[in-house]
Symmetry: C2
Subunit: 455 residues, 2 copies
């Protein structure tokens, strides 16, 4: 365990004692020295009674810093807010960075949101109301309006004065955006450049006029990609006329990248949400069952398909032995191709040309892997069962299913993407089932056709 961790745990002990003894001074002297993330981790572990004490020990502003570091799980926001005095809650929300406050309010129902906004002071309410308009997962929904903007005809000195004044409230002061009279983005300058420039330099002389920006309706994944590729610490968000509406900072993007990756991962594994796992078995079962039941019925369909070949099976029972092998290989290659396609799509390679090239490439990959695995299987089955025809049957089935499975694994997510369905949903289950069905049709189809050579 790291020293930092040890210290935090020691402190948590004294914080708990202070809460039980209702000793406000002790509590505040330790708590306010902690990083808000540690404060939040401590806070969410408390029982309702201790949380009440915390609300009385902290100011709305201090509580806001804690709340900014709480992630919503199992309706935590709802629970905590309803415990607070409504005025305290509204003041706290007003003190949070507007983008974080919006994240919280998005989890509540409309009536509640409206009542908090009414109690709040007008300026904060206005800021939040503007952000609430934007659709989830867009640039607008993760941006903040607490940025610093300056004009091109200012000097470095006067820009630094503005920075000093605005620093306590702005989410970042490290990038400053330059706007013209119409509030359109005209340039950007980093604090680094401001600091190394002479105080009487004009901003217009040193600003970078090539500003990368994102549209307010842009998907947050696209924003994350831009920020990652270009190593920005902040990106301006503009409307369709190029007016500056807000900025997105790198810390929000770190969360987005992590979420989106988790999301693709969860879907590949057919779990609805892999991250929130601090629950009992019932709630875990509830989350996984919908997938399992769907898969069960898909599996039944596969079973009924095999049922059609019962006559073939009765004559040549050995055929059954290779069902899991063939279906399994089809599932595996399909998932590989799917994973590649989903990642490509979420990395933004979605031009038609790139995609059709991908399909051709996957077809080639399927043929090559299918041919090699097919030969290996033929040899192994021949050696094991001493039946060259059976070996060839299984081998050719592997070749055919691997080719078809690889193509379908790549093709289905593309179709889904075109139909504006998140391709990650196609995931393990569907690709695997489709490939099960295809592989079984090929295998038993050929077996039935060439039955006379098998008996």
């Amino acid at each position: 365990m790291s020293e930092e961790r040890e210290q935090v745990e020691l402190e948590e002990g004294s914080l708990l004692t202070a809460l039980t003894q209702k000793n406000m001074d002790d509590f505040r002297s330790v708590f306010l020295e902690q990083h808000p993330y540690d404060q939040a981790s401590f806070f969410i572990k408390l029982d309702p009674e201790d949380r009440q004490t915390v609300y009385h020990f902290l100011s709305p502003e201090e509580m806001a810093a804690v709340f900014e570091n709480i992630e919503d799980e199992d309706g935590l926001y709802q629970t905590f807010l309803s415990e607070m005095d409504p005025t305290f809650a509204a003041q706290m929300l007003a003190q949070m960075y507007a983008d974080d406050a919006v994240d919280v309010l998005n989890e509540l129902d409309k009536d509640q949101v409206a009542s908090y906004l009414t109690i709040m002071d007008d300026e904060a309410a206005e800021e939040i109301r503007e952000l609430l308009h934007y659709e989830e997962y867009t640039a607008g929904s993760i941006m903040t309006t607490e940025y610093i903007s300056i004009h091109a005809h200012q000097t470095v000195h006067s820009a630094m004065q503005i920075l000093k004044k605005e620093a306590p409230n702005a989410e970042t002061i490290y990038y400053v955006f330059v706007v013209d009279e119409d509030e359109k983005v005209a340039g950007v300058i980093s604090l680094r450049d401001l600091i190394i420039s002479e105080p009487d330099t004009m901003i217009s002389d040193i600003m970078n006029e090539r500003v990368y920006s994102v549209s307010v309706a842009e998907d947050q994944e696209e924003v994350a990609r831009k920020m990652k590729d270009y190593n920005f610490l902040a990106l301006p968000v503009v409307d369709f006329q190029g007016h500056l509406l807000g900025i997105i900072t790198v810390d929000d993007i770190v969360d987005v990248i992590d979420e989106e990756a988790s999301d693709d991962y969860s879907k590949l594994a057919a779990v609805s949400d892999v991250d929130s796992t601090d629950r009992g078995p019932f709630s875990a079962a509830k989350k996984r069952l919908p997938w399992l039941i769907i898969l069960l019925f898909l599996g039944m369909f596969t079973a009924s398909l095999i049922g059609r070949f019962e006559a073939t099976l009765e004559k040549v029972a050995i055929l059954a032995v290779f069902i899991p092998l063939i279906a399994g290989m089809a599932g595996n290659t399909g998932t590989q191709a799917l994973a590649v396609a989903v990642r490509r799509i979420s990395l933004g390679d979605t031009e038609d040309q790139t995609l059709s090239k991908m399909i051709v490439r996957e077809a080639g990959t399927g043929l090559i892997t299918g041919a090699i695995c097919g030969v290996v299987v033929t040899v192994v089955v021949f050696v094991w069962q001493g039946d060259l025809f059976l070996g060839a049957l299984v081998g050719i089935s592997i070749l055919a299913t691997l080719t078809v499975a690889t193509i379908s694994g790549a093709f289905i997510p593309l179709i889904m993407h075109k139909l504006k369905v998140d391709p990650a949903v196609a995931s393990g289950p569907f690709i695997t089932t489709i490939n099960d069905i295809i592989s079984i049709l090929i295998y038993f189809g050929m077996a039935t056709l060439f039955m006379q050579y098998l008996i």
Copy 2:
């Protein structure tokens, strides 16, 4: 297509023309205005001849900015460096941020690295040599030594002087670390705090003494987690005595988070590297085949297991119909449990207590999902085949396999983690195969035992 993208494509056209006409002024006037990321994207698309022209048109320093934005794929670093004049290459490496230069050198063989370091100026070579010591994927391997440190007994004014002087070379100036006489980390101060403080304030009065740091040997994933949770823009890296060795900046962490997530994802899908997909079918096939061949032999093992029950199968061919269903369900639940366990482990929840709680929880989840799916299957099979005993047999097999599969899906990654093997490797393939085998043993075991009721 966005405006920015359109502009970049227009520029790429004129850059190509300038290269063909060997027009250095035209080339430089457009190229040097571009963001290094766009420069790199343009550069890697060029043919060798045009690349030669670029090496002659740019200074080593300008080329360094391009190179910092190239990701190594298919030995790109190797190719480009070997095309360059060795002195030019060494000068370029010296001009890169040391951590990026190390990333490049790590891809070359030792002799080459040594020869570049010999040509390079001593200071740069020393810096790089120090970083080359650190193991890949540790904090040491991603940190940079180009940071700014100050002392506690300085004033804000003198600290700002240092910042102005060091800004052009430091990787970040937004966090400044305070060290004591022994070069141990004593505090941290953000540029934001420096700017809003009076020039004659002592650093010791305003610095934050609670510094979060990471050990040089720490796993990069752990570093990423800390940075994400605490929203830092930079973290100091210290040795075991607490001496400041370097810093890690948020842009490197964004890459780490993205890589690690991709990595877990790739392993779940049994592809070695999902991201690098701009290759032909042969190289894609080469990457996937090792997995497929392993899976093929695992599948063969499953097949031979079913082979043992050939006698049972010959008597009751209908049994074969449910093989894919049972094996598929076992695979699906196993993968779900695996995904949850892998994510938990990579999120750092690795204390014994948490983990044993997870196993208990998974066992419960397996029982609940197994019971529900089992009942559904029994009913469906009874309705479909009109055979209650067959329905019950399949249903009970589902109950048993789901329970076992869920536990093994969670348990195996834990064991692997304890054995210091990356649990993500367990992935789809192994969990699925183990669960295939278990499910078939349970299913045919029961079928053979109760054979008399089936015929």
